[in-house]
Structures are given as C-alpha cells and as structure tokens.
C-alpha cells in the first residue's frame, strides 16, 4: 500500500494523510482558503470529515488567526494555500498569532517555487524557506516525496509545534521506502562520497539523486544530503560531510538568499569554512513559464547541478 502513494500526486497524498490523521485524532482540522481542490483536500477530507473541514474563503489572514484561536482550544489545524499566500501574504499573522503566541498551527504552502508555473510570477514564492526560517519558534519542513510527506505530517500532528511545510502538488519520483521515519533533527544521507557534498531539499531532491548516481558512475563520489527540515537544521551531518569533501553544492527551488543555501553557509562559515556553490533562483522574481525553462534560465536543473559538482570536484584549491 505504501508504495502506492508514490503513484499519487503529492496533493492527494496530503489529503489522504490528513484524512487518516483526523480519523486518528478528531482534534486535527483541515483549513482552506478557497483552494481546497488545489491542496488535494476536497473532496478527500471535505467528504470524509466535514466537521473537521473549514473553508474560510479567500481570506488567508483570517484563516491563520482563526487557526490560532482553534489551536488555543486544543485543535490541530493544518492550513493550506498557495505558498505565496500561505507565507508572504500572512507573514505577520503567522509571526504574531502563531509563532509569537507559540500555538500549535501547521501552515502548508502548496506549489512552491517554480512549480507554480502556469500561474506565473505573481504566484511564485521563492522566499518561503528563508522568511519562515527567520521566525523564532517556527519549524520549517520541505519533504521530497510521498512517503516522506506522510511521515512529516504524522510528526507534525504528534508534536505541539508551530510548523511550516512546503507541499509539492504534483507526483514526484520516489526517494524513500516505507520504513523511513522523518526526524527534523536529522538530514538523510542519500548517497555517500568523498569528492563533493551536494545538499538538497524539497522539490530538488528528486533531481539530485540521479545526478549523484550519474557522477558516481563517472568517478566523482558525491555525498548527497537531503534536508527535510531546513529548521531545525542538522549541523552535525553537514559539518561532518564538509570536513570530508571540502566542497559543497546546494540546490533549492528558491531564491538562493536565505533558504537552504543560506543555512548551509551560516553553519559552515562558523564551524567549518568551506567553499560553497549555491544553486537556485538568483534573486529574481518568477514568470509564467515551464519548469524546464525556469530551471535552465536560472541554472539549477540537473545538468547545472552536475556541472557545479564537477567543477568543484576538479578544483584543486578549495577551503
């Protein structure tokens, strides 16, 4: 059964898993702001658990603060919207009603980064990992496949913790097997190697795995670290890998400022100064375009990741 989830669009995995969480704990609630079909919760959650499903309309600010009120009464609300509306539009509501008040609200940003393609630049949020990471009390997760998404959601429901999670909507390549258990304090070492460390999160990990395998076959031993939690950040795994390889490439479906690459640089500059190359969107807004076009334009597709790893691995003077 668990492998069947790999064949589903991630949003339907979200809906199915949220439905299971509600069945397990009736305090769990599903909040939406008129994008419930896009989030995969309508009809899955709406029809099975109508009493736990609350659609507030196109009013994201109200959704977040209503969720805070629900959480203050013991509910466990999962609030979803497009990433742009779930984070930057309601940044103060999340900051004060949720994080500052330290209430158990789960914010879910769907269609992160370039996956918002057809909706274009207005709907592309390239800074959610960065801005949510800068918020005290907030955990920030970016699961990379269906089984990790399920494990992350179970963790979220079981832990009293303001949390932000990216939700990729479409189907993605399987990375993890059924026995995988998410731990926000531990990065997943997906491939081991001594030549270069590749650090990835969320949507990009499915591209990073075949790149690492291809480079291994070409004689470049890539150590691939997947970070399902950008905050808290597992510093030990990163530092240990960087000490070994002395070369680090980061890749994220984000602006290169402040997100995963930023976190990596903060840690390494303090604990293990290392040459780092950050791949992602170079401080630009999005535009309506295919993912392929945007990956090529901004230089963080599989070929760019491979080239960056090769370049660093070949460099004689690093660190």
């Amino acid at each position: 059964m668990s492998s069947d989830f790999h064949r589903l669009e991630m949003r339907f995995v979200y809906g199915e898993t949220l439905s299971e969480l509600i069945a397990d704990n009736p305090q769990v609630m599903c909040l939406e702001a008129d994008l419930s079909k896009a989030s995969g919760t309508n009809p899955i959650v709406a029809s099975r658990h109508p009493g736990n499903f609350l659609n507030v309309g196109v009013a994201e600010a109200n959704m977040i603060s209503v969720a805070a009120g629900l959480a203050s009464e013991g509910k466990v609300p999962f609030c979803a919207s497009f990433t742009c509306f779930a984070t930057r539009r309601v940044y103060d509501q999340i900051t004060i009603s949720v994080a500052y008040a330290n209430l158990n609200v789960k914010v879910v940003g769907t269609a992160p980064g370039i996956t918002a393609g057809p909706n274009g630049g207005t709907h592309m949020c390239f800074q959610d990992l960065a801005i949510m990471r800068a918020m005290p009390n907030m955990h920030v997760y970016a699961p990379c496949d269906a089984l990790e998404l399920r494990s992350v959601m179970r963790y979220m429901a079981a832990h009293h913790q303001p949390t932000y999670m990216q939700l990729i909507r479409q189907q993605v390549s399987p990375i993890f097997a059924a026995e995988y258990a998410f731990d926000p304090h531990r990065a997943a070492v997906l491939r081991e190697g001594r030549d270069v460390t590749l650090v990835s999160t969320g949507y990009m990990t499915q591209f990073a795995v075949p790149v690492a395998d291809e480079l291994h076959r070409a004689g470049i031993a890539v150590e691939l670290l997947h970070y399902p939690a950008v905050k808290p950040f597992d510093t030990a795994t990163l530092v240990e890998s960087a000490r070994k390889t002395r070369r680090v490439v980061t890749v994220e479906n984000q602006n290169v400022i402040g997100g995963l690459g930023g976190a990596v640089c903060e840690v390494l500059s303090e604990q293990c100064p290392t040459r780092v190359v950050r791949l992602g969107v170079p401080n630009e807004f999005g535009e309506v375009a295919s993912e392929q076009y945007l990956l090529s334009k901004h230089g963080f597709g599989p070929a760019h990741i491979a080239a960056a790893c090769r370049r660093l691995a070949a460099a004689s003077e690093v660190g």
Partner: protein
Amino acid sequence: MHCPVTEPAEFDREEFDRMAAEWRYIITDMICRAGSGHLGGALSLVEVIITLYYRILRVDPAHPRWDGRDRLVLSKGHAAPVLYLALACRGFFPASWLKTLNADGTRLPSHADARYVPGIDMTTGSLGQGLSCACGAAYAARLDRKSHRVFCIIGDGESNEGQVWEAALFAGHHKLDNLLVITDYNKLQIDAFTDDLLSLEPLRDKWRSFGWEVLEMDGHDWDSVYDTLQAALATQGKPKMIIAHTIKAKGCCLVENKPESHNIKVPDQATYDKFLNSLPLKAALPY
C-alpha cells in the same frame, strides 16, 4: 485602595464609581511609572472591564485555564494595563506585578500576552488579528459543544484593518452566537479623530449588514453597559456586536479626548506628577 482579591459583588453604584476612579489612578500610575504607554485606550475601557470581570464573565482565578471559563480576547492588545489590573484585582496574580509594567524582564508586557499572564486567553498586539482568533475559539467551542462564551474587544482604529472585516464575514456566515464583540468606539486613533482619518460610519449598519446582532451602549454608564451586555447575551443565532460609545483617556483631564492620549510619554517626575494630579481621585496603590 488595597486591591483586595475581590469577588464578583452585587452592584453598588457608589462602590463601583469609587472602584472606577481608583482604577483610573492606578492605571495612570502604572503607565507613568513605565515612562510611556497606551493610556487613552485603557481608560476608555474601565467601566466595560469592571462590568465584565465583576458581573458577567465566568472565570476562576484559582484555575486560570479552567476549561469551562468564558474567554476574553483583548484584540486591541495595547489596552492591556486595564486588563492586567482587573486580573490582579480578581486574584489571578499578585498585585505587586502591576508596578513592573514594561520593565525589563516583566511578566506584564505592553500588549496582552497569554504566555506570561494568568487569565489572558490570547496573545495580541498586532491589530486586526484578535477578532479572528476569537472566531477560532468560538468555532472550536461550538464544535466541542461547550457552553462557555467568547468575548472580544476591538478598537475603532483597529477596525481600519481589513482582517477585522474578514472575521466579520466569517462570524456572520457561521452564525457564531457564542461570540460577543465590543467595539471601544472612543472616536480617536493614533493620529487623529476616526471621522477625520478614516471614518467607520455608519458603523452600526456595517456590522448589521455582515449578519451581526448590533447594540450600542454608553461605555461609561454602569446600567447601560450591564443591560446591553445581558441583552446581547440573550440573543441567539447571530454573533453580537456592541458598539461602546466611550471617551478616550476618560477621567485624565490632561489628555482626555485628545489624540496624544494614545501613547503618553512621561520623561520626568514633573510630567508624572502632572498626569497623576489630573485625575479626580487619588488612590492608594496596591503595590
């Protein structure tokens, strides 16, 4: 005043008048002691808060998180000093805390904070959010078939915020009749009179058109406050809005009904004395 841990009492007009005057003196002292603070919006709520905490709210100071309690969300969180005083007088925490308002390391920050203060149900301070939080608390109570009531106090300046009207739509749509909201309509916001800066009128019609039961009261008249609250609580099927007509900084003649009452600055002893002397009654401080 020795700020006894007061039980809700039978209404005695003289007693309540004296309590209100003493509270105005103590609140002004708390803020002056801190060197600055939101005086106007705290003083405009004195009769409303006294009536709530001595005649209306079901709360248990010995068990601040008692599940059956009525909730109160002070969405205009900057009026926290009057709420802190009410909670201290009802015995939620020692009156000695009151003199620490805004002091380094205090448990009583300028805006109402549920993390540190027993008896505060929601952390507020960023205007517009508390009403949505109260809607969430009321929605949860309905889901769980609990009989407590959710009270919320918003400001007139705060009602400039779009989120207030998102919440108004939400509560009206869901007919949250366990939610009672009071607008502290003192007609002043930070920069100017509300009618000159961004008029809310016709305020009664606005709330009514959003599906709310709307009542109005004189927020400084004991009978008007109590009777209107009781009348609102007796209605069913809709969320309730009470527009409380109040006077900002009521009783502090130095700044009463003036924009500068919003956040007073008290840089020196002379200013401190000027504020305290502008009040009609000098109370013994409970700290």
